[in-house]
């Protein structure tokens, strides 16, 4: 194999208001043509900085950045070569898809890259059609990409780079906003490019999607605090408990299971198929007769916090408008933590905007009741003490320069006394330990701290019902768990929390109740065990249960319960506890 990339970064430095920040140091690695490499590490580990230096975006297009060292692409140094020129060899997909959309229709956006290569219209059309199919964007060709859901935008951004078929595709957190099957499809498309066209693929991930990548990548590079800790095969890296801990990452669920069951060395699986073989060998044909059936999960009694009946919403546009909600009905009890899941574009965000009164039903016989109030007759201002909403992108709701000002902003509009505003602001800063950053400029914070600020600013307003759109997108495992623990504390204090998420592991562990949306309707509504045990139905909505649940379902013939949700439950089941 020839060398696609040779990276020797002595140091990569950003200049920020508070001095220089070294984003990466002493990074040396090579990638062979046709390899599929994952760079993983927590937020702030330097993985994105390394990725952006591969095509010269750093230092050419990122202000106040400096790179010492050299990056060679196909044997040639990229120093001094224009990014637009390098883009014919390396296609870079940015983390935030909004920043990558340049055209007014999906098909034009997908054609933008290859059109800059001067391809004839027929060839452009062929590439656009291929990418539309492979990224599941059929039917959206004429839509404005900015009007799509977060996941659909990410699919357009990825497609926009795939369409010009560069030798190397570098993607920053490409699947964090996608639904579970969308994640698998995207990784499969990249694998297909990799296998059929010999395209070199380099992706970054904060470790939240480690199970998805383990099946596809050839090598894993683990980074933390700007340093490359190790690069090796998925097995070498993902089964090394100490290394993963040092890198601030968790093990894939099936790897964790095998290690807890005492496996070591080559027998430790990193993928679902390896785990199935491992588990069947481990069970050695015995059937788990004593396997315990789980108690039904807690169903909270009491009054309803949310009641929705026959909710319909059609957005204007296209010929007959866009039907986002098609008769949604469900109810949520007070004190529940509810996960709203479903494929990208299934109507989850639209539904949430109805619950806070921003959108109104487009049918007359709909009912949307929050804390006993009919939201159809009230605006968001009248509802904010009952219900509030945290946007998927924290930047959508940040209005002030500094963290403390941002948390106080909403409180100042609630008619509270100055002392009460100060007290609640101080409490808000404590929620995620933001006190040391209270005078920091928000634009200088990483995505995790900005998300904490956005969530804290709403939590400080103390709504009875809190809706959070993708609370863990862009966060790493420790930050995500911190968010989920805080949300759980809220429900224990009697408040109701609704999260919109594509993270099935978190939904399985933290949610009391899951509502699955599909094509503007409720597909399933029940406890996590009830929902995740119905894999066939879930697949209609491009949802797959957590990896450990999938393994349990593959082992159903051995008596393993099919509604297992965590690794510890699986360990107990396998041991016959």
């Amino acid at each position: 194999m020839t060398e696609a990339l040779s990276v020797n970064i002595d140091s990569l430095v950003y200049r920020r208001r508070r001095g220089d920040v070294t984003a990466a140091k002493n990074i040396h690695f090579t990638v062979q043509q046709g390899e599929y490499v994952l760079i993983t590490g927590p937020v702030g580990s330097g993985k994105s900085s390394v990725l952006y230096s591969l095509d010269g975006t750093i230092p050419q297009l990122i202000p106040n950045s400096a790179l010492e060292g050299d990056v060679k692409v196909m044997g040639k140094s990229i120093n001094g070569v224009d990014v637009a020129e390098i883009s014919r060899t390396i296609g870079l997909v940015l983390e935030d898809p909004d920043t990558q959309l340049t055209q007014l229709t999906v098909e034009d956006d997908l054609a933008f890259g290859p059109s800059n290569m001067g391809l004839p219209p027929e060839a452009l059309r062929e590439r656009v059609e291929y990418v539309i199919k492979s990224t599941r964007l059929q039917g959206l060709e004429k839509r404005n990409p900015r009007s799509l859901s977060g996941g659909q935008k990410q699919a357009v951004a990825i497609g926009g780079v795939l369409s010009f078929m560069p030798s190397i595709v570098a993607l920053d957190e490409p699947i964090s906003m996608l639904d579970p099957i969308g994640k698998i499809n995207t990784l499969a498309v990249l694998k297909e490019l990799n296998k059929q066209h010999g395209t070199t693929i380099i992706v970054t991930d904060s470790g939240m999607e480690i199970e998805s990548f383990a099946d596809y990548v050839d090598r894993v590079m683990i980074m933390n605090q700007g340093e490359l800790l190790k690069i090796g095969s998925p097995r070498e890296i993902l089964t090394d408990t100490d290394l993963m801990k040092k890198g601030g990452l968790r093990l894939p669920q099936v790897t964790d299971l095998a290690i807890k069951l005492g496996a070591s060395g080559m027998s430790v699986p990193t993928t679902l198929s390896e785990a199935e073989k491992f588990a069947t060998d481990w069970l050695a044909g015995r059937k788990l007769t004593s396997s315990k059936q789980f108690e039904p999960q807690m169903s909270r009694d009491g009054t309803h916090a949310v009641v929705v009946k026959n909710l319909q919403h059609t957005y204007p546009g296209l010929e007959k408008g866009i039907e986002a909600l098609r008769g949604v009905s469900f109810s949520i009890k007070k004190g529940e933590l509810v996960a709203l899941i479903g494929q990208n574009g299934s109507g989850k965000s639209t539904l949430s905007l109805h619950l806070v009164g921003i959108l109104k039903p487009t049918n007359r016989d709909a009912l949307v009741e929050i804390d006993g109030l009919d939201t159809r007759k009230l605006g968001p201002r009248q509802l904010i003490e009952h219900v509030n909403y945290v946007y998927q992108n924290p930047d959508d709701q940040i209005f002030c320069e500094k963290v403390q000002e941002e948390i106080a902003f909403g409180l100042e509009h609630l008619g509270l006394s100055k002392e009460e505003v100060e007290r609640r602001t101080a409490e808000g800063l404590k929620i995620f330990g933001l006190e040391p950053l209270k005078d920091e400029y928000i634009t200088h914070l990483d995505r995790g701290r900005r998300t904490y600020t956005a969530i804290s600013s709403i939590m400080a307003m103390q709504p009875n019902i809190l809706i959070i759109d993708e609370p863990t997108t862009g966060l790493d495992e420790p930050d995500s768990l911190a968010v989920m623990r805080k949300l759980r504390e809220l429900t224990e204090a009697g408040r109701t929390v609704i999260i919109i998420t594509h993270n099935m592991n978190l939904a399985a562990v933290y949610a009391d109740h899951i509502i699955v949306m599909h094509a503007g309707k409720v597909l399933l509504d029940g406890t996590p065990r009830e929902v995740f045990s119905q894999s066939d139905v879930l697949s209609q909505s491009y949802i797959a249960p957590p990896q450990i649940t999938q393994l349990a379902q593959k082992l159903a013939s051995y008596g393993v319960p099919s509604d297992i949700l965590t690794v510890d439950e699986m360990v107990n089941a396998m041991r016959g506890v």
Partner: protein, 282 residues
């Protein structure tokens, strides 16, 4: 979403005759008639042009009123501004076609003011105000039809085929893109601010100004970031690295050329009519 739930002042794909029309004859058709309307003062001459525009905009291009709302507001505000001027149009010298003695008939005497002089409402002043209103709405409907039914990429493709510099095209294109994005950002910011307790009242002018100030700061932050990222995203997708091609070929068909020729002829005839036969004069 929410406050600005509908796409506004931006292209919306639909399968209509106006959407299918080549952008060049479409723009020439709309521009020539709009220009002609701006030369005329007689409402009887402007009204048919406006009716033609409304037919193009509503039953043919199917532009929803929600999309047109900002245009209606701009039109009404412009008429209010012109209403002030109408009070000073009462001289007999303005009129060449209609009897001046009738046109200067005073309907309401407002007063004689220092510096600005006499202000009064005459029949001629009202006719002039009506013609201004018709002119504005003709222009606003024409602009709406272009924005709603023309994919800027099509226009760009055509201009590119005429060897217009790609950098110049990108600036034009970014301009087309910028306004709708700005509206979307503003909408999201307004929704998010309402959720933080901000009253977005338009009943009080002071509150309205305060509201705008609140939206302005985060909007500027987002727009600054957008300008940087548009450049970044265009560069990493190869923009400016060589000769470009386009998804659709935008060649003029014979019918398009006929439409252009007819429009130019109508415009010249209308203009000559104004010069030599007082068409459209008061």
């Amino acid at each position: 979403m929410g406050i600005l739930d509908h796409p506004m002042l931006e292209y919306v794909y639909k399968d209509t005759l106006m959407h299918k029309m080549h952008p060049v004859p479409k723009i020439i058709l709309l521009a020539s008639l709009t220009l002609l309307a701006q030369f005329y003062f007689d409402p009887w001459f402007i009204l048919p042009i406006l009716i033609f525009m409304i037919i193009l905009a509503k039953p043919i291009a199917r532009i929803p009123n929600s999309w047109l709302l900002p245009m209606y507001l701009i039109g009404l505000m412009s008429i209010l501004e012109r209403g002030y001027n109408a009070a000073f149009i009462y001289g007999a010298g303005y009129y060449r076609v209609y009897p001046a003695s009738w046109m200067v008939t005073t309907l309401l005497y407002i007063g004689n003011f220092p510096v600005i002089g006499v202000a009064k409402i005459t029949i001629g002043g009202l006719v002039w105000l009506l013609s201004m209103a018709l002119r504005y709405f003709t222009a606003l409907f024409a602009v709406s039809i272009v924005l709603y039914t023309t994919d800027p990429s099509d226009l760009m493709h055509y201009l590119a085929s005429k060897n217009v510099s790609k950098n110049a095209l990108f600036i034009v294109f970014a301009g087309f893109n910028f306004f709708p994005i700005l509206l979307r950002y503003a909408a999201t910011i307004m929704d998010a601010q309402q959720l933080r307790g901000v009253e977005l009242s338009i009943k009080s002018p002071i509150k309205t100004i305060n509201n705008l100030a609140r939206i302005f700061h985060p909007l500027i932050m987002r727009v600054t970031m957008l300008a940087d990222t548009l450049t970044l995203s265009a560069s990493i997708r190869g923009f400016g690295s060589g000769k470009s091609s386009y998804l659709r070929e935008m060649k003029l068909a014979i019918l398009d050329k006929i439409i252009i020729a007819i429009n130019i002829a109508v415009f010249i005839a209308g203009f000559l009519g104004l010069l030599f036969f007082n068409w459209g004069a008061l």
